[in-house]
């Protein structure tokens, strides 16, 4: 019996590895300047955006591209609730998540009506463009092309324009959402999500309500990405419709693929790498896009299963599991 179980040591190593990352990150502001801190904050947002995206297209296997719509909904919800309704920004994070979840619910309606693959792709892309159109044409609420600035705020006596303070808040939100998502994936829910991807007909034969699995996955994805939107609104301080277009969608898609489709770890790696990469490429003015494209292509050719597959080969603690044996 003991030989077939992943060893207790391996399990504790995995828990250790997970918590060591945020623990070390607490010290990061000591090593950054204002500019690099801003980049790192953007990274945390990308981690959540990529995580929500990979759940739907990787784990659930649905070709749905409404991710940027969830992101925009979250960002505008947070901006509007702070600027127009005077709510403290912190409070708008879960509210933006809830509205992102509503977006997820709407996107899932298409999938649940039996619209799949390319048809789902085009209908969800249209959803994203429709949202962008809405931001542009509801000027009294969203500011239209002028965008919507967030008011200045002070928390714990520190201005919310301070990137170090934002970093700690972003880090907290990111860790909570990544951990919660891991809890979900390492449970009967995560198994059901994978099962629907692999064989939806057989999944139903196991007393698993497949429609509910699809619905809840979209809702959770929308929640995570909606929260990321709220962080983004504070990160840039002023939301514009252009931030939520095809460019953002394609960039998130690249992060999902470079990290490894359907992998929580991959979402983190892909987001970090592809947020950092353009900064390093600034050393080659005029060639940035070319190098960026080449590097993405090279990673995908060398590792079709993404960066996460590299770590999996290094140590079994990085293998994605859809059950949880702790406690």
């Amino acid at each position: 019996m003991s030989t077939i179980m992943p060893s207790a040591r391996q399990r504790s190593l995995r828990i250790w590895a997970f918590w060591a990352v945020p623990a070390l990150l607490l010290l990061l502001p000591l090593a950054t300047n204002a500019y690099t801190q801003f980049i790192v904050n953007g990274m945390l947002i990308s981690v959540l955006v990529t995580l929500g995206f990979t759940l739907v297209i990787g784990n659930l296997g649905q070709l749905a591209f409404a991710n940027t719509a969830f992101f925009g909904i979250g960002a505008y919800a947070s901006a509007m609730l702070t600027a127009k309704f005077g709510l403290p920004w912190i409070v708008t994070i879960p509210l933006a998540g809830a509205l992102g979840a509503l977006g997820g619910f709407l996107a899932s309606a298409a999938a649940l009506r039996g619209i799949r693959s390319y048809y789902l792709a085009i209908i969800t892309l249209a959803f994203g463009e429709l949202m962008r159109w809405a931001y542009l044409h509801t000027k009294p609420l969203t500011g239209g092309t002028d965008g919507l600035p967030l008011p200045r705020e002070v928390v714990f006596g520190i201005s919310l324009s301070d990137d170090t303070l934002k970093f700690y808040i972003f880090l907290g939100v990111t860790v909570v959402l990544v951990k919660a998502t891991l809890n979900l994936m390492r449970s009967r829910f995560g198994r059901s999500v994978m099962a629907v991807r692999e064989n939806e007909v057989a999944t139903a034969s196991l007393a698993i309500p497949t429609a509910r699995v699809i619905l809840v996955t979209f809702i959770w994805s929308g929640f995570v990405v909606g929260c990321a939107g709220a962080l983004f609104a504070r990160h840039v301080g002023h939301v514009f419709p252009e931030s939520f277009g095809m460019l953002h969608l394609i960039a998130s898609f690249a992060m999902v693929l470079v990290g490894g489709l359907g992998s929580v770890l991959g979402a983190v790696l892909g987001a970090v790498l592809l947020t950092a990469l353009p900064e390093y490429l600034r050393a080659f003015p005029g060639m940035e896009e070319l190098f960026f494209g080449l590097i993405v292509a090279a990673v995908l050719v060398a590792m079709p299963m993404g960066l996460a597959s590299l770590l999996r080969r290094l140590s079994p603690i990085f293998v994605e599991r859809y059950y949880r044996e702790e406690s």
Binding site: I4, R188, R191, E198, N199, A202, S205, L206, A207, P209
Partner: protein, 254 residues
């Protein structure tokens, strides 16, 4: 013996074509009933109509007297009628253990929120089910494969894991759709042994579609012969062997 499954007048018509024509029978506790017939006889339609993948045009399906007709596939499975699939229903990217755990979905406690927050209620139930899944794999001598991807197993191993997954929740009724297709003689013997044990020791009522004649003759108590959607004969293996209608259906007029 207790009647488990009662099928009455079950018919399925697709725009003029009668795929299943007024089929009735009962399946008792511990019974193994084979359904045989040439291609297109309606065997798979019968399975799909019982398990909810095809809506019957008329007729009823009852389990323990409770009506299952027109319920969704997952609701029928939850009631206790579980099935396997002809072309294999395993989830290749999940491990053997994870596959078996999907069979225990309805037995795992904890709400979405319990799971999300990692509450002990959800974790405890998960741990119990993991334990159970490992025990079941051990019974089939598959425990050393628990962490192997299901897609990496041999065809015979996949069939066995699929059966373990299907019976993990202790369903009273099991529908096996060609469990021996593509199996080696050794694996076939093992499959037969599994069927005998499930029916004999656990009292599972088994409905079996199978083309391998020797397996049908050895495993089934009764055989239902179908052709063109309808029942043409029913009886013990000995009776069926002698039946003229069956010979004609299979061999043409001789």
């Amino acid at each position: 013996m207790t009647d488990l499954l009662t099928i009455e007048g079950l018919s399925v018509r697709f725009s003029g074509l009668t795929a299943l024509d007024d089929v009735s029978f009962t399946l008792e506790e511990g019974a193994v009933r084979a359904v045989i017939g040439p291609n297109g006889a309606g065997k798979s339609t019968l399975f799909n109509a019982i398990s909810g993948y095809v809506t019957p045009t008329s007729g009823t399906v009852h389990l323990y007297g409770r009506e299952l007709t027109r319920l969704t596939p997952h609701a029928i499975a939850e009631q206790g009628v579980r099935r396997t699939f002809q072309n294999g229903g395993l989830f290749p990217a999940l491990t053997v253990l994870e596959n078996v755990l999907t069979g225990l979905h309805a037995q795992t406690e904890g709400s979405f929120l319990d799971i999300l927050l990692g509450r002990s209620k959800a974790l405890k139930s998960e741990a119990e089910n993991i334990h159970r899944a490992r025990e079941l794999l051990k019974l089939m001598s598959m425990d050393h494969m628990a962490d192997t991807r299901a897609g990496d197993l041999s065809g015979g191993q996949q069939r066995i894991v699929e059966i373990v997954r299907t019976v993990a929740s202790d369903p009273p009724v099991l529908l096996l759709d060609e469990p021996a297709v593509g199996l080696s003689p050794v694996a076939r013997a093992q499959m037969m042994d599994i069927i005998h044990r499930l029916a004999g020791e656990k009292g599972v009522g088994i409905l079996l579609i199978e083309h391998a004649v020797e397996l049908v003759m050895a495993a089934a108590d009764r055989i239902l012969v179908m052709a063109a959607g309808a029942r043409i004969a029913e009886g013990t293996p000995e009776e069926i062997r002698e039946d003229r209608a069956v010979l004609e259906a299979y061999l043409g007029h001789s």
